[in-house]
């Protein structure tokens, strides 16, 4: 077992021992897919809406959101470890700083997969139906893992810098806003006004498109490519953000 899997094991074990820290993050996307699909059932009647099932539109959004918050969950745990001083112990271990970071990432991926599977099952039960190629699950998992990676880097980086609950508020708020300032609620072509511009330029819109690939007609290889590049880019940037945050703990 390497240092990072050791840390990931600990983190996953702690989910079971402190479920109150994990369950809300899991229930939120479930609530989202349930409520959005029903409350906004009528949106599919808007001219130009690309599906006649609202759940097909909102399931990928909820999955992406849930996976992102699974990533942020590691940021919350990090705040706890920093505040108890436990993290000092880990920092004194002769493991590379990369290994120290990789542990939470592994845990986040595992958490995200749980969220992706659960939310998807709920979505399917609510009537979501994959279209076309049958790549539905692939897009959901890819976007889920991607956002979990981005959320982890962002969450850890903020946790290392603020070291207290302020980081938790900032990471939640920014990711929440970032994901809603996209075509989360309606397609760009259907919107009016300012959000159209914002959503078009928001890179997270491209991530949502990857998640939607298997549930909305008209998305294809190009969207997959762009979305994957966006995720890789953001994952790289947030990894650097986390790594520099970790080394700033020595300052």
């Amino acid at each position: 077992m390497s240092a990072s899997t050791g840390l990931a094991t600990r983190s996953l074990r702690n989910i079971r021992r402190l479920p109150s820290a994990f369950i809300p993050a899991l229930l939120m996307p479930v609530f989202q897919v349930v409520s959005f699909s029903g409350t906004y059932a009528g949106v599919t009647q808007m001219p130009g809406f690309p599906t006649d099932r609202s759940v097909n539109w909102y399931l990928p959004m909820a999955v992406t959101m849930g996976a992102s918050f699974a990533g942020l969950g590691t940021g919350f745990s990090m705040i706890r470890d920093l505040q108890t001083g436990f993290y000092d112990r880990l920092r004194m271990a002769p493991t590379t700083r990369r290994q120290l970071l990789l542990g939470p990432y592994l845990a986040a991926w595992a958490r995200a997969l749980i969220a992706v599977v659960l939310v998807t099952l709920v979505g399917l039960a609510l009537g979501a139906r994959p279209v076309g190629s049958g790549l539905g699950m692939f897009g959901l998992v890819l976007a889920g893992v991607g956002m979990a990676t981005i959320g982890t880097g962002w969450g850890l980086g903020l946790a290392y810098r603020f070291k207290d609950m302020r980081a938790a508020a900032i990471m939640q708020l920014t990711l929440f806003l970032g994901l809603f300032l996209t075509d989360a609620q309606t397609p760009i072509e259907v919107m009016q006004g300012w959000l159209q511009t914002v959503a078009r330029w928001n890179p997270l819109t491209r991530v949502l498109h990857v998640a939607r690939m298997g549930f909305i007609d008209g998305l294809g290889g190009r969207d997959l490519l762009i979305g994957t590049l966006v995720m890789a880019g953001l994952a790289g940037i947030t990894w650097m953000f986390a790594l520099s945050g970790l080394s700033s703990l020595d300052d």
């Binding site: 409520s35 029903g38 906004y40 009528g42 009647q45 808007m46 309606t186 919107m191 006004g193 959000l195």
Partner: protein, 262 residues
């Protein structure tokens, strides 16, 4: 409102003022109760602007007009959960017991504690309306309608505050009160607060039809998108008033039990 004996008015004012301060001094209250509702209005106006023409959507000038009612109720609900949390904290720290030891009426103490939330509810209603005016909001029922909405906002704060206070008094735990936050969210989402009931189907429509929040929001909404009617005014004021009466009765009863038990 319950009568407060003369001479105790000053005390009530002091308690109310304290509770107003406790609200506006917390960014964790101001953000969800002012910023979030406005953010969702802005988002909705852009996302759902074209939805106003789908079958079942009420006749409105814009989605903004439609959305005001939902954001007012959302803001007030979130704001008043906080004041009930503050009450639970008062109980936890023993401050509440000290108040009870003073010669004020029980109802006076309770209403005083909730007065901050009530004033805040009224202010929120005005605030949302004023902020959204420059973006094209119109209140079809005019100034009288707006006044009715502000009173409705105040009463809604009292209604939710008193119901949540019952929980605060029974559990004496601020965590339990705070923990009910998701419940409020669910209640709000499975209503017509954000989208018309008439466009929903199946179970969702059924829940929205029986959810009192739907009717509360629709009172505010009628005052925004239709001309002034007595029915809309009554809906906006009476629904929260009835809930408030029930909530106060419940919370006073819990208070009596708490006092009897201690």
């Amino acid at each position: 409102m319950t009568a407060v004996a003369i001479g105790r008015r000053e005390q009530l004012i002091a308690l109310s003022w304290r509770s107003v301060l406790s609200i506006v001094r917390q960014p964790s209250v101001v953000v969800p109760s002012l910023v979030f509702p406005l953010f969702f209005v802005a988002l909705g106006t852009s996302s759902f602007g074209r939805a106003v023409n789908i079958p079942g959507f009420p006749v409105v000038d814009s989605f903004l007009d439609f959305a005001l009612a939902g954001s007012v109720v959302q803001g007030v609900l979130f704001g008043s959960v906080t004041s009930a949390t503050a009450l639970a904290t008062d109980i936890e720290t023993g401050f509440f017991d000290r108040l009870l030891a003073t010669p004020s009426t029980r109802a006076g103490i309770l209403v005083g504690r909730l007065a901050g939330a009530m004033a805040y509810g009224l202010a929120q209603t005005l605030f949302f309306t004023l902020v959204l005016f420059p973006f094209g909001l119109s209140i079809k029922s005019g100034p009288i309608g707006l006044l009715a909405m502000m009173i409705g906002g105040l009463l809604t704060a009292l209604a939710v505050g008193s119901v949540m206070s019952t929980m605060a008094i029974r559990t004496g735990s601020s965590e339990a009160v705070q923990g009910s936050f998701p419940l409020i969210f669910i209640l709000l989402f499975f209503s017509s607060a954000f989208f018309p009931r008439q466009t929903m189907s199946g179970v969702y429509r059924y829940i929205a039809n029986v959810n009192p929040i739907s009717y509360l929001v629709e009172g505010f909404r009628s005052l925004t998108i239709e001309s002034l009617t007595l029915q809309a005014v009554a809906q906006t004021i009476l629904i929260p008033a009835l809930i408030a009466v029930g909530g106060l009765a419940l919370s006073l009863r819990s208070l009596r039990r708490r006092l009897a038990a201690s």
